[in-house]
Amino acid sequence: MFKKRFLAVIVFMLVLSVLTGCFGKESSKSNGSSGSNDEVEINVWLTPQWKGVLDASEEGADYDSFFKHAAEEFSAEYKEHKVKINVEVVAGDQRDELLNVNLNGGTPPDIFFESVFAMGDYAHRGALVPLNDIVDDEARSDIAQGYWDNVTFGDDVYFYPFSHNPGTLTYNADMFKAAGLDEYIGDEYEIKTWTLEDYEKILKGLKENLPTDKYSNAYPMGLFALNNQGDTWNLAYLRMFGNKFFDNDGNLIIDDAKGAQAANWLKKIYDDGLTNPGAESVSSNDVNAMFQNQQLAISFTNAILLNNAKADMESGKAPKFDMRLANIPSASGDPLTFTYVTGAAVFDTKDETRIKVSKDFVKFVSTDPELVKASKNGVPIRTSVVEEFEAEKPYFAAYSANDPYMFNFTGNVPGYSQLRQVLYPELQALYTGQKNGEEAMKSYQEKGNKIIEDSKANSVIYKN
């Protein structure tokens, strides 16, 4: 009897201690704190963007240099509170895992600097606070409306746009010359626009005429569908025959003749050997590496990847060749172009003081005349900065010329992250022959619209 009672007491105490440990949360659960001595501590997370404050050539340049420098200046200038800003760089492919774990644990960062397309879901989930109150008329006039549309969910601005990173195709002009395709090569700083017929001729020309002694094991174009990395290019290819992708209510409408035609076109160039083999199990990273090793003549790129590839060639890390840009072609002849807008978002930490300081810091970083110059590492979002660096960065004018053809690839729909997870399995089914273009697009639309519907039900923006 005594034994039973004693054991019961022990078990009760243990359970009590477990529950105390698990439920006895501190009043402020978050990483940072705004506390008694008026020092406000906020956490800034970012994924790797550019190294250095303004330039990668600075001594000790790293991915956190810019925000550390901005934090020092802000702390020195800020009058309302004493501020401590912690800057942390997180890997891009772990972003959602880290954020989900921290959001569920009640410890989100105060600020996250990242591409907007990857973060839009957090606005729909009610994890971010609107930034309308820190956007002034000066910023509105310096930044084109298209970029504001990108960062606006419902009626509110959730990201302060900083720079953008346009996605294009890139080609190896040396391989074009070797295959006798000189006529299709654009100028050094031009983003060449080919018609779809031209593009098909180029792919065939590369397959048939590329000298194998010089370029062994090389293919005309890079194609990938292992996972969701680089899927924006796949989304662009699916628009090649004029499909609009989303309707006005934010639902997928890819399951029509134009969508299926685009899918079948991809399958055809894959079957004809105009792309690398095994697209279903090749990642965008693999394709990028193959292009740098001159195993592909045409690949995908964006402004940052282009800079990195050119830097690798200069430093001798990768073989040197004449790398140029081209637009994704379409049946209509107009180029298909998109961009990743990057900017800072403020998380709803439930602490008014920290939210206020975070917003002030975001405004400081996004408007300070010296700091916004760092946006030249991608493509500046501000017209004033583009004009200042146009002579130094000849690609800026070419990217600006593409603006009229830009499409918003996310449609700012809720559940976009999850939507990405259902596209690549359908492309894999397409490339392995399990489904034809019509079936793959039908299945993608069904699964995708289910995700969008469920996410709309949970979206604070759609509820309001």
């Binding site: 009897m1 005594f2 034994k3 004693f6 022990i10 243990l14 359970v15 201690s17 477990v18 440990g21 698990c22 959602d96 895992e97 989900n100 774990v101 959001l103 569920n104 989930r125 009610g126 994890a127 094991n217 569908a225 292992l226 996972n227 690398n276 083999p277 095994g278 697209a279 279903e280 199990s281 090749v282 693999d286 394709v287 590496a289 193959m290 090793n293 195993q295 992250s417 999850q418 997870q421 690549y424 399995p425 359908e426 894999q428 089914a429 490339y431 392995t432 399990q434 489904k435 949970n458 604070v460």
Partner: protein
């Protein structure tokens, strides 16, 4: 009554010794299990938790990817465990009574892959099998032998993962079998020799029955390990092509950390827990029988 009281007093030191372990067990194992079961009954988003009963389970069973993951997991368990046991028995029974140095060499050779991280092994296999720039497809293309995408062909991807996992895990089973076979009484082999038994008869009539407890242990441990197979999927195929190699653990990970569907992920966790529990019963029964 007195006897029980005395017995407890006698054992109190023992109870105190296991108390810290018991506490950790409750915090890190029992509590998460209870919390996992609770979460599986809720729809959870950033702002609130809504009780939805068994809706998560209903959604799971109507999701074709979950069904595919379950089938794939069962296929992995059956084939990997069967291959491991059969191959390990074959190797161990062939070498256990040979020269000690030779046995050590065999043990070492098969055990090295077990010591290497699964991440490293997966990356090496990826380097070998990648259809665009992997070594094996490259050599095959050069020699015009075959053109199969081992990681992208729905018919090949499961056998490839089974082989990679089997090759990495089998060393453990071989070590256990050799140790167990060395422990079998020598008299049995001598008697069999006197009776003129063949090597095959010795293996099937003496060795295999005598190492049965080891076999049960290897089967249960491998089943549990294979149920949780994840790294090789994440690094080699990403669950593809078209979910052909997705497993329950990979499905759980995607839901929990990528889609933030904690309720669904918890429901998958509960189902995996129940499967493991049912599969562990034979081992628990043999353990209790011994006692």
């Amino acid at each position: 009554m007195n006897f029980k009281k005395d017995s407890f007093k006698e054992n109190i030191t023992g109870y105190l010794f296991i108390a810290p372990q018991l506490l950790l067990f409750l915090i890190f194992l029992v509590y998460p299990i209870i919390e996992g079961i609770r979460l599986s009954l809720f729809r959870i988003n950033y702002q609130d938790e809504v009780f939805i009963g068994l809706e998560n389970y209903r959604r799971l069973f109507s999701d074709s990817v979950f069904i595919q993951s379950t089938i794939n997991t069962v296929i992995f368990v059956v084939f990997i465990v069967a291959l491991t046991v059969i191959f390990a028995l074959f190797v161990a029974s062939a070498v256990f009574d040979k020269n000690a140095k030779y046995v050590s060499f065999i043990r070492g050779a098969y055990y090295i892959p077990v010591m290497v991280s699964m991440v490293v092994m997966s990356m090496i296999w990826s380097f070998l099998l990648n259809p665009a720039n992997g070594l094996i497809p490259y050599v095959a293309r050069k020699m015009e032998l075959f053109s199969v995408n081992f990681l992208g062909d729905p018919n090949w991807v499961l056998p490839v993962i089974i082989f990679v996992t089997f090759a990495t895990n089998v060393g453990q089973a071989i070590i256990l079998y050799i140790a167990s076979m060395i422990g079998v009484q020598k008299e049995l082999f001598e008697a069999a020799e006197v009776d003129g038994a063949s090597r095959m008869q010795i293996i099937f009539k003496i060795i295999i029955p005598m190492v049965k407890p080891t076999t049960i242990y290897i089967i249960i441990m491998n089943i549990i390990a294979v149920l949780k197979i994840f790294v090789v999927i994440q690094l080699l195929t990403g669950g593809g092509p078209n979910n052909a190699s997705t497993t329950l653990m990979y499905y759980l990970y995607n839901n929990a950390f990528k889609y933030n569907e904690l309720g669904i992920a918890s429901a998958v966790g509960v189902i995996m827990f129940l499967i493991t529990l049912v599969l562990s019963i034979p081992q628990l029964r043999t353990m209790f029988k011994k006692n």
